[in-house]
Symmetry: none
Subunit: 403 residues, 2 copies
């Protein structure tokens, strides 16, 4: 992996236009009958043409065997090592459900759980439904402790996001989630480097949890919450500073808008469909030089376990490729931020297929875009965090290193 | 490479069973006539079936061009970066020949060498035979210096292992092996951080070598010893702590039992054959969730330069695959800890072929298990230290990283 600050020393001017088209959760697993993945099953004449004309490969988002969340997945594609630039779990949870996060607010990930005689007996409260979760969050409502307004918003199943809106708060506080059953939830404590603001924040969290217990202790199975990943909005270096790019982000879901904003992209207004997104991209084509285009349905259908729905979502994306190529991007990368096989109904560790198109790349023997074909692709298998360097190189944005 | 402590943060519960089947020194080089390696020559219908149904790749144990010893080779397969977790050469020498090593004992690697007028003229004493080595070690016998009992045990050819059994010893002492001819053996010295215990240990080592000289100075060509890699039994993090696994090790040679023990595996009693080992594995199948199964003959025949013997050893291993698969492991990895090409008669730097079988992996086009086929395998080429993450992922033992 090439260090980001090293890349920065090589940056030069270019007028080339780069498009990073993320089909969320693109990679899959083969249907046991056909032996073909969702992407391999889909009829994708436009991407296949690009694959024939371009060069393919496989991307490891974080590392071999590691299943990336959407946050780390996108940071990696933007060239930010997701382990080094770890954004708190709480922040991504909150941003992912569209909560506002002020610079002094503190966010956390919440799990509803089951407690009996003070001991956690199920860390996921039997994986309650998202509807049940929403009902519980509504029942808890907004709580104010010591002048700090605390908001809880449902994610999926037993997971929720919590934000403490206020001033003088610290994220240097410990998890209350012991992360195993048979133990009592922990008290929230200031960490050793926390200081007075952390002591106050921990006190507020503990009071909040007492109040929540009063409200849901007679519920079943979700009669308790545990919290982890207390974090504030992170101050990441911006793509303009690092790469001297003028980046635009086009996405329809809060999580991906949030990820784009974290690295300093301008968010472009768009309608809900991919056609809308490409139309939006078109309107700002002359204003920016880097375009992050995000497409959600591939991941959603994968998470639903809907193999044929994911196939259809891929085909719908493929149908928009001519509109995108009509803009004649100098560099185009099509990939996923992680895999979401319909067979697993969740994000997975499998590398993402990558289709790379630029007039300054070698060709390979890949004839159609698919996971198995990408194994033999000319780019091989590499870490997603290096994709940005490859895009910049093809945009002639990187000077020679050394004389 | 994903850091081990990072993986630990992702560990969750799973009931899946993982088997790591190490065919020691599996990888080879092609026979010049047939163009096929030992593995490619062998008739391995069972492994070929698994390769067709599974996914293949190539593993670099330490790094490209680096020939691993058995110790680092196994540490890497267990997910321990063998450069970071360097276990002293002395420790592996001693454990490799089955010597007991107490927590305060100090071990070293010994080379018999030839000395003339105080100068080393042959660092390997003409590679004396292992029998001659054994005779010399017996002649030296147990020596007691300042109450410390010092034991020497033959390894192969000119190499032996030395253990100082006692208390108040330190491994912060320097090598006496100058590692070149034309120089005198060095005095053993305390290192700069060694302190009094190291001073005493160095004094004991020097006295010991004087005594050995008295005993073997009239021998030829092995009339002197040099020592290096003084080290104590290392305190490695245990697999249970890191991966939350309950690991069992099944091996017949001291070195591999030692490697398994170092990372906290329970050693399972077994007879000498692979069939015995698999029978032993079967008896504890319900008690453990990670099984390290070690098979030695592939390496032994490679070291002998016995190409067809190694082919036969591979075929004998293949014949036991049905018994192993009868247990229905959720995750199975078959690979080597390094290559041992019969043509080289030694360990080599060539990557190890990897056969990976799990219902949660993609398929690839590999039709038979072999080095050349693995080049095109769906897993590509990666570092052995990352294999553990891939096994854990397939066992559903790793949570998603980030939201």
């Amino acid at each position: 992996m090439t260090d980001m600050s090293f890349l920065t020393t090589l940056i030069t001017d270019s007028t080339a236009k780069i498009v990073l088209f993320v089909l969320d959760g693109l990679g899959g697993l083969p249907d046991p009958t056909s032996g073909l993945t969702e992407l391999e099953t889909a009829n994708t004449p436009n991407m296949d043409n690009l694959a024939r004309d371009g060069i393919c490969g496989l991307l490891d988002t974080v590392g071999i065997g590691v299943t990336p969340g959407s946050g780390p997945g996108h940071l990696a594609l933007f060239g930010y090592d997701p382990i080094r630039f770890e954004v708190g779990r709480g922040v991504f949870s909150a941003l992912g459900v569209g909560m506002e996060l002020g610079p002094e607010d503190v966010a956390a990930r919440v799990n509803f759980c089951t407690i009996e005689n003070g001991i956690i007996t199920d860390r996921r409260a039997g994986r309650i439904s998202t509807d049940e979760n929403a009902r519980l969050c509504a029942k808890i409502g907004k709580v104010i402790v010591e002048g700090v307004e605390i908001e809880i918003v449902p994610e999926k199943e037993h997971r929720a996001a919590l934000v403490l809106h206020g001033t003088g708060l610290s994220d240097e506080v410990s998890d209350t989630d012991p992360q195993r059953i048979g133990e009592a939830p922990l008290e929230c404590d200031a960490t050793s480097v926390g200081g007075e603001e952390a002591e106050r924040t921990a006190r507020i969290v503990n009071q909040y949890i007492s109040r929540v217990v009063d409200i849901i202790s007679d519920e079943h199975p979700a009669n308790m919450i545990v919290t982890r990943g207390f974090s504030k909005y992170p101050n990441l270096p911006k793509m303009t500073e690092i790469y001297s790019l003028k980046p635009a982000g086009i996405a329809t879901y809060p999580m991906y808008k949030a990820a784009a904003k974290l690295v300093g992209m301008d968010l472009i207004e768009t309608g809900p469909t991919l056609a809308d997104e490409i139309a939006a991209l078109k309107t700002v084509w002359n204003t920016y030089d880097f375009f992050f285009l995000h497409y959600k349905p591939t991941d959603s259908r994968g998470e639903d376990g809907d193999f044929s729905g994911k196939v259809k979502a891929i085909e719908e994306a493929d149908a928009q490729i001519p509109a995108l190529m009509g803009l004649r991007p100098d560099v185009l990368a099509i990939t996923g931020d992680h895999s979401t096989p319909a067979l697993l109904k969740m994000h997975s560790w499998h590398p993402s297929p990558l289709l790379f198109h630029s007039k300054w790349e070698r060709r390979d023997s890949v004839e159609a875009f698919g996971e198995t074909a990408c194994v033999g692709g000319g780019l091989g298998r590499f870490r997603a965090v290096d994709l940005m360097a490859l895009m910049l190189a093809n945009a002639m944005k990187l000077e020679k290193f050394g004389a």
